[in-house]
């Protein structure tokens, strides 16, 4: 166990030393990872914002159910009971025709129009909040309500909700496509940069092999070096985002920019940072393992 731990620390130490030894190449890998992750972070950030917006829309999804003008008090109570018993409904608020009128009359122009009519033209209605998990099945509820002879109309923001869903899906697809391309391009550059680093140390590799060094001793430090460089690249982006969050937030607020990004909760920022760190480390380690698979590396031995 102690020996395994000592080997582990040996690999960590060697990888770190190798990284510091070729500072130029290491900096190139770190900057490449940071550039790729910065582009990915834009999509990831946008995804979070839209996801939050969609989630908020789901949580506050409301229907307005208008009864017909001929509906009596008993009809209103019946529909209210029907809605109250439905598992998809989170809450029901009755808005009587008098309450609706009082609200409308707050607008002087509408007040004048109603005075001209001489009677209250508004029906009783219900403000219905749908449960978050039932938002996807809201059309079934609307269809059920419309079957009732005393229900005149059901109004809900179907178009807006669907547009938001479509936008989120689009951002995810475009993000995944472009992100994938950016990831692959970065992987290619990193793998080639690490190949240069391996080439510079080919004599050491051959020597280690001739001295009987096992695989973990020869390749472990390179994989760790790639992992570390990727991770450092990600940390660079995280630091930049944190700086942006702290210093540029007020600018967006003042000039009315994309404030939704600034309104994201801390957990989302932390989640974004963790995703970037995992992606960076994976990018570096994958790049290193691709470099180690180059034909000449095997021929050196």
């Amino acid at each position: 166990m102690m020996n395994a731990l000592a080997r582990f620390f040996y690999v960590l130490g060697e990888g770190l030393r190798q990284m510091l030894r070729s500072k130029g190449l290491s900096a190139a890998v770190i900057v490449t990872v940071a550039a790729a992750l910065f582009q990915l972070s834009i999509f990831l950030g946008l995804d979070r914002v839209l996801d939050r917006a969609l989630s908020s829309a789901q949580e506050n999804f409301q229907l307005v159910v208008f009864l017909s003008s001929s509906a009596k008090g008993a009809d209103r109570d019946r529909v209210q009971s029907l809605l109250g018993a439905d598992a998809r409904v989170a809450s029901v608020k009755v808005v009587t025709r008098d309450e609706a009128l009082a609200e409308f009359r707050q607008d002087p122009e509408i007040d004048q129009m109603i005075q001209a009519l001489g009677e209250n033209p508004l029906p009783d209605s219900f403000d219905v909040t749908v449960k978050k998990e039932a938002v996807g099945h809201v059309e079934d509820l609307v269809a059920l309500l419309k079957k009732d002879p005393q229900v005149d109309e059901v109004s809900y923001g179907k178009g807006q909700f669907e547009a938001l869903s479509r936008m989120l899906a689009l951002v995810r697809w475009v993000g995944a496509g472009l992100g994938g391309l950016i990831f692959l391009a970065a992987l290619f550059i990193i793998s080639n940069t690490l190949t240069l680093s391996l080439w510079a140390r080919r004599e050491d590799l051959a020597l280690m092999n001739r001295l009987g060094a096992p695989s973990w001793m020869r390749w472990g430090p390179y994989l760790w070096e790639g992992f570390l460089q990727g991770f450092l690249g990600a940390l660079l982006v995280c630091a930049f985002l944190a700086l942006f969050h702290l210093s540029a937030g007020w600018l967006l607020r003042v000039f009315g920019g994309f404030t939704e990004l600034m309104d994201l909760p801390l957990s989302d920022w932390v989640g974004l940072d963790l995703t970037l760190c995992a992606l960076g480390a994976a990018l570096g380690a994958l790049g290193a393992s691709l470099a180690l698979r180059k034909k000449w590396v095997w021929e050196v031995q």
């Binding site: 020996n3 030894r21 050491d204 020597l207 001739r210 001295l211 009987g212 060094a213 096992p214």
Partner: protein, 230 residues
Amino acid sequence: MMIQLFHLTKVHPSGVKVLEDAFLTVAEGAFVVLAGENRAGKSTLLRILAGEDKPTSGRALIHQKDPYALSPKEKREWQSLNGFIFPDLKLFPDKTVEENVLFPLRVRGSFEADPKAPVAQLLERAGLGAKAGQKPADLSAAEQRMGVALRAMVFKPRLLLADDPFAGMDEKSARTLWKLFAELHKAGTTVFLSLQRPEDLASAGDLLNETRVQMVHLKERQLWPVGVGE
């Protein structure tokens, strides 16, 4: 037997034949000095024994194993039993002298702090104690050769193969190295070394008095134990 060579022939890609149907047997624990003229093929023979230069025909068995028939993993394990002192086996340029000498112990899985003490002692005895923390670039060529020799001996290999290990060394350093070879041999290692200059053997002086040295001449593409071919 430590080394068994059967019908060994080696023809270089240039067409030069350096060994032809050669035979040799070296017992475990022997101390062999290979002599021969310049370009006779001594280095080639040592590289064949090290598993680094495949013979054109014939067979070489070291520890009863043919290094050219082993898988890469088996070969690395086999290599880790042997110590090599070859002119092209340099020290790692980015490690200190001490780290270079420690390296074979790391290869063999020793990571405790303990090996540092014997390594420091060994460096001290070889005259490199003051330079333990320096990089090879700060050492003279002879000191670097000594460092390579220490790296090959530190783990007490079963077989030590040394190709002209005294090249470039002054008499004092050469005597130190002879002493270390003699001690290693006494501890049970089979030593097989080639000498370019006969005077190098003389520099051993009385250090080999207690050692039965087996001389082998490489001459006319054959291996001749001294007294048979002379």
